[in-house]
Symmetry: C2
Subunit: 220 residues, 2 copies
């Protein structure tokens, strides 16, 4: 597998993420995601097409090729292993890891990453609950549902938090919700879409729709 520049890697990773949702990715979406200009996206897309990492016809959207997908998984593996390292070994808080991992992910020594993986004990998920691809690019694909769509009375476990800001971390810490927390929705209120939830045998409490939207759970 060839080596790509940090810039190319950031584009590849963004396309991978966006195409999970929409199937195909547009110029404007990418420009917005990467905080760059549409014209810059077009330039880079031509380059990545030439390198056979993606397919696209002018004015249609982009899609990674099989090879492009493999490259993306490699970058995501590096990113999430570093995040795990920062949180677990260096005691970074949850909201601090992403920014640093955004740089570390571009150091591409295969040996470094495989040894790091081993040192960390082959973790399956990063500090936000996102799965870490293994050395062959395989990763866990457990069915996760948004907390807002969990039916009342169904026990579930928090598996993933999307938003990685300091603000959401503060709130989650206050509410004592972390990845792995087992909870149940008691009631859904139509007016403001807030949820009443219960953790274990503790008294139930309320969380806002905005918060619930960012929490994914798995059925148990």
């Amino acid at each position: 597998m060839l080596n790509y520049s940090a810039s190319e890697e950031n584009y590849i990773k963004a396309i991978y993420r966006l195409q999970r949702q929409d199937g195909t990715v547009t110029t404007n979406e990418l420009a917005h995601e990467l905080k760059t200009k549409p014209a810059s996206v077009t330039d880079m897309m031509k380059k990545l097409k030439l390198k056979k990492l993606l397919r696209y016809q002018p004015y249609q959207g982009f899609r990674l090729t099989q090879e492009g997908g493999k490259v993306a998984l490699g970058i995501i593996r590096r990113h999430r292993l570093w995040e795990y390292f920062l949180a677990e070994k260096l005691k970074f808080t949850w909201d601090e890891v992403h920014e640093v991992a955004e740089d570390l992910e571009h150091v591409s020594s295969k040996k470094l990453i495989d040894k790091l993986d081993e040192f960390l004990g082959f973790p399956r998920v990063d500090p936000h609950g996102d799965p870490i691809p293994d050395a062959h690019g395989r990763m866990e694909t457990s069915k996760k549902i948004i907390l807002t769509e969990l039916p009342a009375g169904t026990p579930a476990v928090v598996s993933n938090v999307i938003n990685q800001s300091t603000a959401i971390l503060e709130l989650l810490e206050h509410k004592k919700i972390i990845i792995g927390t087992r909870l149940e929705v008691k009631k859904k209120f139509e007016f403001d879409e807030s949820l009443e939830i219960r953790i274990g045998r503790q008294p139930a409490f309320t969380i806002s729709h905005q918060l619930a939207e960012n929490i994914f759970v798995q059925l148990v």
Copy 2:
């Protein structure tokens, strides 16, 4: 302290290393050290001068300013901490650490490095025996002498190996010489400048001038 590009950092580090030896650094020396062309060096020197990291008059040599020296120590700190991490935690061998650290050193989060330092237990020297600057840029300055200049009969401890190749590591492992080994020169042979040395109470053995040149020791 501002942020510098990987390229600028590699130049700064190289100047720092070379000026330790010669006091001042020339265009050709730098070009050779960095495997680049003299014209590229001149370009970069203008840039670093503009940023007040070095002093130079055309056709004289270069010297880092005080600020330039501080920046250099920061890069060296990152480089050596990563080398220590790779060797100690990830079990890289001695000859493999430098190349990877050459990339990792350019990830410049201060918090990352200070936490890494703490995680590693504030190590004083990297795997080759070179001192690691602390968070304030201070580092050990123990007097080291080349093994070829150690007088016969004076006990000393191996503190440092300059050459970092796989080849020298193989030889040192075979001879059971590592950093920290206590030894004594028994005899120096004029003909080929080979040395007879003894480790502890074991039988004495011979090492070549080429090998001895790359080993530094400290008196005990």
